[in-house]
């Protein structure tokens, strides 16, 4: 019964996912899906100076401060004081932790010249010291840095290996999550083959120099009982300790937003259905040198901050001070946003570090600052020769930003003359909204035009606009298509003037015409009036003559009647014989 119980217990101890101890190291816990195996030993191996000790110490420090697990640091190569000084640059205060009983450091000095072997022995002293240290602070985590030192002090290899095996069993029995550092070996993983005994989890740190730029990479070589990211992940060590860059979910299943945000230039918004970019989308503006890409980026930054959102501006060419000054000349003042903490401007040279470092740095800034928009100006500076790598890096960056629904705005420099629709890094397929700034040369002038090459998810205007930088910001003016060509700059101005003159002339003509018409009408009216008067006259005369005729008739009739009466006969009728 007991056996089946333990078997069940063992089964439950090695489930699909092992119980893990979180390290708290950003990125590492993601790669390992939870941290190092709990209660088991993990090996960190690598060449000299690749950060093994730093990793191990950070594992302990974070264990003590973040996860309430005190730890024991057994160091075989550096004294406690030296160790404290070394990690102080990472922001860890080992002295304080020791005082608070969260950390116990035991420096084990092995001086081969002091030691004389006479007869059989074992390493029980080590066990006793470890036990004592663990008991005195109730430690749950242990770091042995580096256990290989025992190989230099004691010559009995067989005994050493037996004791090491015993040590790891001892650690496992007590459920202590252990991290052991080991030097990289020639041909083997570690110089003394420690990986034979520590086979639960093996992590390899690499420090490479590629074209004068150093990159640090980490790889989980083995993780028994757990799935893990199997790639090489770049990491860096700075004043906040270790940071590993996990590959972001490269699955295309980001949530999307239908919100729109303004680009900062009203006419540009008009070209984009009147609303602007989609929130969380990727925007790129490419163009030749000096075509106004950074200015467009600044407009976007400005708008984002005006809307009360945070914006991160990463520049690879100009210092923040220079950008601020240049943008002021076109009427964009970003300084107040910086002061309010809405705009964060970071600039560094792309040659300063490897590609992964840039990505990692941007990652960290985004995690720290939590912006709603990120501007990278320009991305083409990152091309170091291996465009495939740059492409991969940008893809990861875009992926990362999309997952966080952060709007990305990139600028890209294109070689003049070459096909404008081809960027050096061939990243255009990853971009949702792509605008092109093109120069048009005509009549001894170079003027800029902007057009929206593509904009996924919206009906964008297919018209070209003239791109002008004025003292009050960028303006997009509709271009003139005189005789089938695009006219910009002074050609347009002259065309405008000409058309205006034409219009004035036309107006003038129209006015004149109407005047003539007016005169004609007046004349006509006068004529009509005259005719009317004449007619009225006639009418009058006719009326009068009619009246007179009538009178005559009446008097004649009267006369006849009178005459008849005089003659003494009754006049029967009128006018009938007399």
């Amino acid at each position: 019964m007991a056996m089946s119980k333990t078997r069940r217990k063992e089964d439950s101890r090695v489930p699909p996912q092992l119980e893990k101890a979180r390290t708290g190291i950003p990125g590492f816990d993601e790669i390992t899906r939870g941290g190092v195996p709990k209660g088991r030993p993990t090996i960190i191996c690598g060449g000299p100076g690749c950060g093994k000790t730093m990793f191990a110490v950070e594992f302990l420090v974070r264990g003590a401060t973040q996860f309430g697990e005190p730890g024991v640091l057994m160091t075989f190569e550096e004294t406690a004081a030296e160790m404290t000084k070394n990690v102080a640059s990472l922001g860890f205060d080992l002295k304080d932790l020791s005082a608070r009983k969260k950390l116990m450091m035991d420096y084990v000095r092995i001086e081969p010249s002091e030691i004389q072997e006479t007869g059989s022995y074992d390493l029980e002293g080590l066990f006793i010291r470890l036990q004592y240290a663990v008991d005195s602070i109730g430690a749950k985590r242990v770091v042995l840095d580096t256990l290989e030192a025992v190989f230099s002090g004691f010559s009995n290899q067989g005994l050493l290996r037996a004791e090491i095996r015993r040590l790891f069993r001892w650690l496992k029995d007590r459920g202590l999550t252990t991290v052991v550092t080991a030097e990289r070996g020639e041909g083997a993983l570690t110089r003394y083959g420690l990986e034979e005994y520590v086979s639960d989890c093996v992590i390899f740190l690499d420090h490479r120099v590629n074209e004068q730029v150093s990159t640090r990479r980490m790889r989980v070589i083995k993780y028994r009982g757990s799935s893990h990211g199997a790639d090489e992940y770049p990491f860096l060590i700075d004043d906040q300790g270790f940071s590993v860059l996990p590959s972001t979910s490269m699955g295309l299943d980001h949530a999307v937003s239908s919100q729109r945000i303004s680009s900062g230039v009203k006419e540009l918004d008009d070209m984009l259905e009147g609303k602007g970019y989609f929130r969380g989308s990727s925007v790129m503006v490419s163009g030749t040198a000096g075509s106004g890409k950074s200015s467009l980026a600044a407009h976007f930054a400005n708008q984002t901050c005006i809307d009360g959102k945070r914006c991160l501006h990463v520049a690879f060419e100009e210092s923040p001070a220079q950008t601020l000054r240049n943008m002021r000349s076109i009427g964009i003042d970003l300084a107040p946003h910086v002061k309010k903490g809405l705009l964060r401007m970071e600039a560094w040279r792309p040659t300063q570090s490897g590609l992964e470092m840039h990505l990692l740095r941007i990652h960290k800034l985004v995690e720290q600052f939590n912006p709603q928009a990120v501007i990278v100006d320009p991305i083409t500076n990152l091309v170091t020769g291996n465009t495939h790598e740059v492409h991969a890096m940008l893809m990861r960056l875009l992926d990362f930003l999309k997952t966080k629904q952060i709007t990305a705005f990139f600028t890209a420099l294109t070689e003049g003359g070459a096909a404008m629709e081809r960027t050096e890094v061939q990243v255009s397929s990853l971009i949702d909204t792509w605008m092109l700034l093109r120069d048009v040369e005509l009549n001894g002038e170079r003027n800029r035009c902007l057009y929206v090459l593509k904009s996924r998810g919206m009906a964008n205007s297919n018209q070209v606009r003239e791109f002008v930088m004025t003292r009050n910001g960028i303006r997009l003016l509709p271009v003139y298509l005189g005789s089938g060509t695009v006219l910009t700059g002074s050609a347009r101005l002259s065309q405008e003037a000409r058309e205006k003159a034409d219009e004035t002339a036309r107006l003038q003509e129209a006015k004149e015409k109407s005047k003539t018409l007016e005169i004609k009408r007046k004349v006509l009216e006068a004529k009509v009036a005259a005719l009317r008067a004449e007619f009225a006259d006639e009418e009058d005369r006719l009326a009068q003559s009619a009246k007179r005729d009538e009178q005559k008739e009446r008097s004649l009739a009267r006369d006849i009647a009178e005459m008849a009466s005089l003659r003494g006969s009754k006049a029967p009728g009128k006018g009938q014989g007399a």
């Binding site: 092995i110 072997e117 029980e124 002293g125 080590l126 036990q131 004592y132 025992v150």
Partner: protein, 106 residues
Amino acid sequence: MKKKAAKSGVEFIELKLYVAGQTPKSLAALANLKKICHEHLEGRYTLHVIDLVKTPQLAQGDQILAIPTLVRNLPVPIRKIIGDLSDLERVLVGLNLVRAETGSSK
């Protein structure tokens, strides 16, 4: 205690034997050591036996890793002899007693 005597080789020796409980090795070491001290260091040594099972915190002071370890604190330099002390030659070399051996005829 008494510092170096006039004749080289006749020095006062301070010994500490670190053991861990009553294991066979520890007992063997103790027995062997007692024999050596009796035969070669009569009258000019002090011996402390420290059982690390009882007092583990003392292991750090003398940097004890292996058990059993015999530490010769005085005279300097510090010498550590690990093992059950069954190899007599080695022990004497380790304690730098060879000269004393040839000096006296014990």
